[in-house]
């Protein structure tokens, strides 16, 4: 499926009559990129440059990435670096956990007609509709009872719940893993789990990468769960950390004699780089994978 995207790249020759479409597309690209451009430009400015009335979409006279960098990584004892590492931990532990569970469950739902399967699957689909904010409240209380709040687990465990990932894996496994191959392996005497590892897993790779990427994005971008669960700022992921700086910058008396907006903007820029790089380098996989669940 994924390779289909790139293979058919040379299908249609370019035609001049698409020129208006190109212009339209160029406009759209500008619209979607303006905020990124703003981020890049403004992370070079001091607060005087930010608010002093210069052009918001162009550099001011003194481009000072260096000073902003230094401040960003030294402010509050260099806490920003720690936030980045926390985000990486939550994203990887949360994303990998969610993906492993989704792969196993999706395969189970797709390839086994076990008792209660339909009911379980229907409940699973219903779960997609549950507002995650509604879960944060009771989950917090339950975690507090077992002393799990304000630990890394309070952020990681809830992100393992990814019903949509299970649904995607189910659809993919159902279509891309032929029963005949599995049966053949079983006839050869392979156990169920071994069959899964040897036969199904390689076939499911594009879907796995897609679900992994989506889960990692969801964890990396998560805001309200860690905000509610963590009170120790040294456990914050970078989203909540930047949120903390924003609220510090907007609360009287909290920022003291230091301007935070410059490092908030540079910190935002740096925090989005890893995901953008991941998407760009892995595009071969996820672009096809995202159509999962919609083809049938």
């Amino acid at each position: 499926m994924s390779s289909g995207v790139t293979q058919r790249g040379s299908r249609t020759p370019r035609r001049p009559r698409y020129l208006p479409l190109h212009v339209l597309l160029a406009f759209l690209v500008v619209y979607f990129l303006v905020p990124f451009w703003w981020l890049i430009v403004n992370s070079s400015k001091s607060s005087a440059g930010l608010f002093g009335g210069g052009n918001a979409l162009w550099f001011s006279d003194d481009i000072d990435y260096g000073e902003n960098f230094r401040q960003l990584f030294t402010y509050g004892g260099g806490i920003y670096r720690r936030w980045l590492l926390n985000s990486a931990l939550y994203a990887v532990a949360g994303g990998v956990g969610a993906t492993v569970l989704a792969v196993l469950a999706g395969y189970g739902f797709a390839k086994y007609r076990f008792a209660g399967r339909r009911l379980a699957f229907a409940i699973l689909l219903g779960a997609v509709m549950v507002p995650t904010t509604a879960l944060v409240i009771p989950t917090f209380i339950l975690f507090a009872k077992i002393d799990l709040t304000n630990t890394v687990w309070a952020v990681i465990l809830p992100t393992w719940l990814n019903p949509f990932g299970v649904y995607l894996m189910h659809v993919y496994a159902r279509d891309a893993v032929p029963d005949e191959l599995l049966d053949a392996a079983r006839v050869d005497g392979a156990g169920e789990f071994r069959t899964f590892l040897r036969i199904a897993l390689p076939l499911m790779r594009p879907a796995i990468i897609t679900v992994l990427l989506l889960s990692i994005v969801a964890s990396w971008n998560n805001y309200f769960l860690p905000l509610a669960m963590l009170s120790d700022n040294r456990l914050f992921p970078v989203t909540v950390g930047i949120g903390l700086w924003q609220s510090t910058a907007s609360t009287y008396g909290a920022a003291g004699g230091q301007s935070l907006w410059s490092i908030i903007i540079l910190g935002s820029l740096i925090s989005v780089v890893p995901l953008i790089v991941a998407f760009l380098t892995l595009q071969r996989y996820w672009q096809g994978g995202l159509s999962l669940g919609s083809l049938k």
Binding site: G108, Y112, R118, G126, T133, L275, S291
Partner: protein
Amino acid sequence: MTLSLTPSTSTAHPVRAARRRAPARRKNLAGWLFVAPFGIVFVTMLILPLGYALYLSLFRRALIGGTRLVWFDNYVKAFNDPSFREGVSFVIRFSLVLIPVQMAISLAVALMLDLMVNRFARFSRLMIFMPYAIPAVIGALMWGFLYSKNFGPLADISSLVGADAPDFLGSKLIFWGLFNVVTWQWAGYYMIILFAALQGIDPSLYEAARMDGASQWQIALRIKIPLVAPALLLILVFALIGTLQFFNEPKILQPLAAGALPEDFTPNMYAYEQAFNLANYNYGSAISFSLGAVVFVCVYLFLFATRKRGSFLS
């Protein structure tokens, strides 16, 4: 809410007879074992908290006088609460405007990109998708600055034509301010899904149509759109669910626009305010469940209206 969904969806399908073979029992067990790890997380991270929230929602708590069991009074209260009703009314209106426009943009761009195969199109595809990778916190931060009347580009553009900059964070235009942020963030994601679905269509269908003299327009309308309808339906349902639960963007923009975005702006924000700021988990939970009911009804109505109930849940 999850449980109530079960009968209505599963009864729509004929129960397929399970194959009865010798290793059936072994496979039955294996199936459960594959599903079990997720099942454990599902129960502990979803069913348990939801059950607990449901339990909480049956009590009423006052700062003075403590907590008492009131059964479903909180729900009666919620549906009569102007804050909740106006919030629901807002998210429904917002959905009705946002989703069609967002879908139209995503579909139009996907069709364009499907037609144009060159480096610029590939580049555009990635760039339009990119906002999806941005945390909502940072997206809102960027747009908050860009909306600024004092130092944003809108101010520069408006001063060129001698007008006052529009205030997208004021109460009159906040609808469109949010509309823009959400569209920016999600249109690319939906576009990629539709694009991938379009790429999955067998090209020989187009050849046949072309031989019959069909234009690209007709091919798009008669072949492409019908064939990606399931994908369209899927993302419509997700967009609907997401928009009715609208929370992140208004909550994050709130420090910049407190006047235009009160704490009860959307039902989810209202639930959050009740739970986390007013210490009323009970009423907050009741609002969450009431919203869940609204979401369920809306989604079911939508699926019923499109008469495609089966395809999404197959």
